[in-house]
Symmetry: C2
Subunit: 190 residues, 2 copies
């Protein structure tokens, strides 16, 4: 009998059995990296899964739409930054906060209490060298098997891309700020 050559997109026979927690990276210069991650948290929450986020850049003092929503939903968001770091005068405090955020993140990841953990804008403190990329990779490689971890931020380091299962680049095609002088819109972009 003639054998049919397998096509490129034939799913493997054990497809339904392979389930595992994914390492997901949303990177790129466009909008939607964090927003999609919050959408994933919302889906997980909708299914009754346990989810939480550590935000590495956003200030604990500001009020973002996602933080207000998370509060209403009883989803824990830990903010471990002071806002936009490029306006900071004393970077050592930002660095200390980022390191502290990473300690919390490790604890949460290793606790086994969650289905989905978001490390929001972690690429920045990793790029600055404040958080050791090799340690992040090691923690991700040894995470609880069914836990999904989502990492966001521009310019994800190659090591993070390498360890990830799913990587999406959000690419800016058209932006109202640059094109029309429209500022970020409350309730949509923050």
């Amino acid at each position: 009998m003639p054998k049919t050559a397998p096509t490129k997109f034939t799913p493997p026979p054990n497809l339904k059995k392979v389930r595992k927690g994914l390492v997901i990276v949303n990177t790129g210069n466009g909008k939607g990296k964090s927003t999609a991650a919050f959408g994933m948290m919302l889906r997980a929450w909708g299914r009754g899964m346990n989810t939480m986020a550590v935000q590495f850049i956003k200030s604990e003092k500001s009020r973002y739409g996602e933080q207000m929503a998370a509060e209403k939903l009883d989803i824990e968001i830990i903010s471990s930054g002071r806002g936009f770091t490029w306006t900071s005068k004393d970077l050592s405090e930002d660095e200390a906060m980022a390191k502290h955020g990473w300690e919390i993140a490790k604890e949460k990841i290793n606790s086994g209490d969650y289905h989905l953990i978001l490390l929001d804008e972690i690429t920045y403190p990793v790029s600055y060298g404040w958080i050791d990329v090799n340690e992040v990779v090691e923690v991700l490689q040894n995470k609880p098997e069914m836990l999904h971890v989502v990492l966001t931020g521009r310019d994800a380091e190659p090591e993070l891309i390498e360890v990830a299962d799913l990587v999406t680049e959000m690419k800016e095609i058209k932006h109202p700020y640059a094109d029309q002088g429209i500022p970020a819109q409350k309730g949509v972009e923050f």
Copy 2:
């Protein structure tokens, strides 16, 4: 006195005054188009804004994470599709459902009752010619001024890109299905 040449990225002086509802398109072959849109809805909901979605492809019979979440949050999601249309035998019914979804969408957009409306996966029925792209453009151009409308789906028509204020391409860099034979994960991807 010498005049300083304006740099390319100087925000216009009236930046804070210019606020308007945006037309946002999330397109591309990667993940996160709908997920980011649901994240925007979550932010809007967190700020107490009115938001709703019309889903043009997803079946009203299936149970998706975002639908389960929306139900808990009392956010209206109207599903006007039968699931993945490329498995359909009778496309006329899909077409009728898409047209019906668009009628509802128009009504919602023109009602003035919402701050953010999502037209999820509308690019597909538009590409098929089931929904007239020129009518979509016209409705978007005449929408209530402060209403944000988010359109998602692959291969957004040039007319939709043109009318949009903010366009992001979600680009697949690495995907577990293709690379490792891992199926879509409940609570994260759907």
